[in-house]
């Protein structure tokens, strides 16, 4: 199936023109493109068919995302919902919640932003302060979320919130779906290093959430979210953000003798990382939660992305404006790409603890 899927993605890309971009899964938003992907059956390929998916595996999804990221296609509109929210609902959500959200997610009709980090809770996610209190059959959520990419465009927000105070701060957390057009939500832009608007701060002030929109078991959010982090960290987007630059440099014939030697090191890391994300996908298919492998590929993936930029830098004086634009995008996105999903020292600490 993977060979046929790879061909289908390549055919789709040839039939749907776009301008390649670095960091396209986070910074290149085109809702029409995402919906066309959905119509072509190239979103949610690993979800059950009854919920709008392709009935395939995590390895199938890896094949699709590798090819899309390789091309620098605009993926930001559907990315969070398809990569992370759908799989979380499939693992932990009630059948009703799955029915309600998975089919529209698979068509990119419903889009998500991710409300995990807070102003005082980044790497230490368990220290988050956003709270959800019971309100009849539902909940009222109050708090602040930061770095919520695409919240100014998404229809829904995933929120991790504290529903009770326990002795162990990893207990008492719950995952929620929140409609972004709910009263009490304020979205404020945060501009990035190029002055572009992808990030936001989201303030929630007693936002009403229906009871059925709690994901999984109340108070079990931490255990659920740890598994979700493998979806978030363990994919090819953690090393292919700068790949369109590498690809463009090769296509432009800019590689000199020095760059050719450097290319061997890049090729070696690319080979390693592609093997690692395949292993992660295989573990996911087996029902596992490959947290440490995902942390490992995320760590080395960022190193690889930075290496691509360093390798390309001396070649830029001879580059066309189009290639130079990819270089600028890659460089500007690089600090954030090392932090989102977990900063490097935190990843290394996790890797060290694993036996």
């Amino acid at each position: 199936m993977t060979e046929e899927l790879r061909r289908r993605v390549r055919d789709f890309l040839a039939a749907h023109p776009f301008t390649p971009r670095c960091d396209s899964w986070a910074g290149s938003y085109d809702l029409d493109f995402s919906r066309e992907l959905g119509k072509a059956g190239l979103l949610a390929v690993s979800w059950p068919e009854r919920l709008g998916g392709g009935g395939g595996t995590a390895v199938d999804r890896l094949v699709v995302t590798e090819e899309l990221l390789r091309a620098g296609a605009p993926l930001a509109a559907h990315w969070v919902g398809e990569r992370q929210i759908g799989p979380t609902l499939l693992r932990h959500g009630s059948p009703e919640l799955q029915e309600e959200f998975c089919p529209p997610l698979a068509r990119a009709e419903c889009t998500f932003a991710l409300g995990m980090s807070e102003p005082d809770a980044g790497s230490d996610l368990a220290s988050l302060r956003t709270s959800a209190v019971r309100d009849g059959d539902g909940w009222r959520i109050t708090g602040r979320k930061i770095w919520t990419s695409g919240a100014h465009r998404a229809s829904h927000l995933y929120v991790l919130a504290r529903t009770s105070r326990e002795a162990d701060r990893h207990d008492g957390l719950t995952e929620f779906v929140v409609a972004l057009d709910s009263p009490g939500i304020t979205v404020t832009p945060i501009l990035d290093l190029r002055g572009e608007h992808h990030f936001n701060e989201v303030v929630l002030d007693e936002v009403a959430v229906p009871g059925r929109w709690a994901i999984g078991r109340v108070g079990e959010g931490w255990r659920q979210v740890v598994g979700q982090l493998a979806f978030e960290r363990g994919g090819p987007e953690r090393f292919l953000s700068t790949y369109p630059l590498l690809s463009a440099v090769l296509a432009a014939g800019l590689v000199d003798d020095t760059a050719r030697r450097g290319l061997r090191a890049l090729a070696a890391r690319l080979q390693i990382l592609r093997a690692w994300v395949l292993e992660t996908a295989q573990v996911l298919d087996a029902g596992g939660s490959p947290v440490v492998p995902a942390a490992t590929s995320k760590y080395l993936g960022h190193e690889f992305e930075l290496s691509v930029i360093d390798w390309a830098r001396p070649l830029m004086p001879r580059a066309t404006p189009a290639v130079r634009a990819l270089y600028d995008q890659a460089l500007a996105a690089s600090p954030a790409s090392g932090i989102r999903g977990g900063a490097a020292p935190v990843m290394l600490s996790m890797i060290a603890r694993d036996n």
Binding site: E3, R6, V59, R261, R264, A265, A268, Q271, I272, P345
Partner: protein
């Protein structure tokens, strides 16, 4: 990571045998045991045109276990020399020019003058480099990579044990965040070495271009991470790691010696890395050997 049963079996049984060996021990006595247990003849029946993966895996298991134990024996050189061309005796020390004269001065065939000893105290001779077929070179290189991988695994185990047990400032060293991140980096480096080694091994039965590419990338990764693994392990282990009594001492010497042996290749094979994206993308895909392997 795919682990073949035969490799695991050989790895475990060799590890068990060498657990009580002295370092440095009596080379001839260790070699006699190795021959008696059949380690030297693993590749005698290997077919050159279609190498049997289970035999390759068994050889890799034995060589990795020796490396992990910090034992320098002429096993990998002998395995390559005998591969597909068995010798009349099982205990002959044989060498192949793909291993650049390491152990040649004590080999049972040929008359090689000792030019010196490497960092693992292995005698070497300055044998003129002959033209070696790609597949024979690749077999030799896979076993060198496996020996380094074993030594690296042994070094990490020692470093981890030390930072867990050694108390300074009232806590185990592993409680210091910088120590933890350094240990994490060390493990990432070892995993890189493991992955590229595994990929070359899988491609021994693939086409020449795919094999040459994996060989070029594996050499590059080994040349980068192996010295770093040795240095980092010592940083974590503290001064005691340099001493004869420290297990790390023997792993380090093997790591350095094997890495230096690989320096002969320099930029050889760099042109196996294409400067064209489609080919690069295809060659960096994990080799399609298993049912779940990704296609290109």
């Amino acid at each position: 990571m795919t682990t073949h049963t035969l490799e695991a079996d050989l790895d475990a049984s060799v590890s068990e045998v060498i657990a009580g060996w002295e370092r440095p021990g009596d080379l001839r006595e260790q070699w006699r045991i190795a021959a008696e247990l059949g380690w030297t003849t693993i590749l005698d029946d290997l077919r050159a045109d279609a190498p049997e993966q289970d035999l390759i895996d068994a050889a890799c298991g034995a060589v990795t276990a020796l490396g992990r134990g910090g034992i320098a024996l002429p096993l990998r050189q002998t395995l390559v020399a005998r591969a597909g061309t068995p010798l009349s005796t099982v205990d002959a020390i044989a060498v192949h020019s793909a291993a650049q004269g390491i152990w040649a001065p004590i080999a049972d065939a040929g008359a090689f003058e000792e030019a010196g000893r490497d960092l693992a105290n292995r005698p070497y001779s300055l044998v003129p480099a002959a033209e070696i077929p790609l597949r024979r070179t690749a077999l030799s290189e896979v076993l060198r990579l496996q020996e380094m991988l074993g030594a690296a695994q042994g070094a990490v185990a020692e470093a981890r044990r030390y930072v867990t047990e050694r108390v300074q400032f009232g806590k185990p060293l592993a409680a210091i965040p910088a120590v933890r991140t350094t240990l994490g980096q060390l493990k990432v480096d070892v995993r890189q070495l493991e992955t590229v080694t595994h990929e070359v091994r899988l491609r021994l039965s693939g086409d020449d271009g795919a094999l040459a590419f994996a060989l070029a990338t594996a050499r590059e990764v080994a040349a980068t991470v192996v010295p770093r693994i040795a240095q980092t392990a010592h940083q974590l282990h503290g001064a005691m790691g340099v001493t004869y009594e420290a297990a790390l001492h023997w792993r380090t010497r093997l790591l350095w010696a094997d890495c230096d042996e690989g320096a002969r290749w320099g930029d050889d094979g760099a042109d196996a890395v294409p400067v064209e994206e489609t080919a690069l993308w295809s060659l960096t895909a994990p080799y399609s050997a298993g049912t779940n392997a990704i296609s290109r």
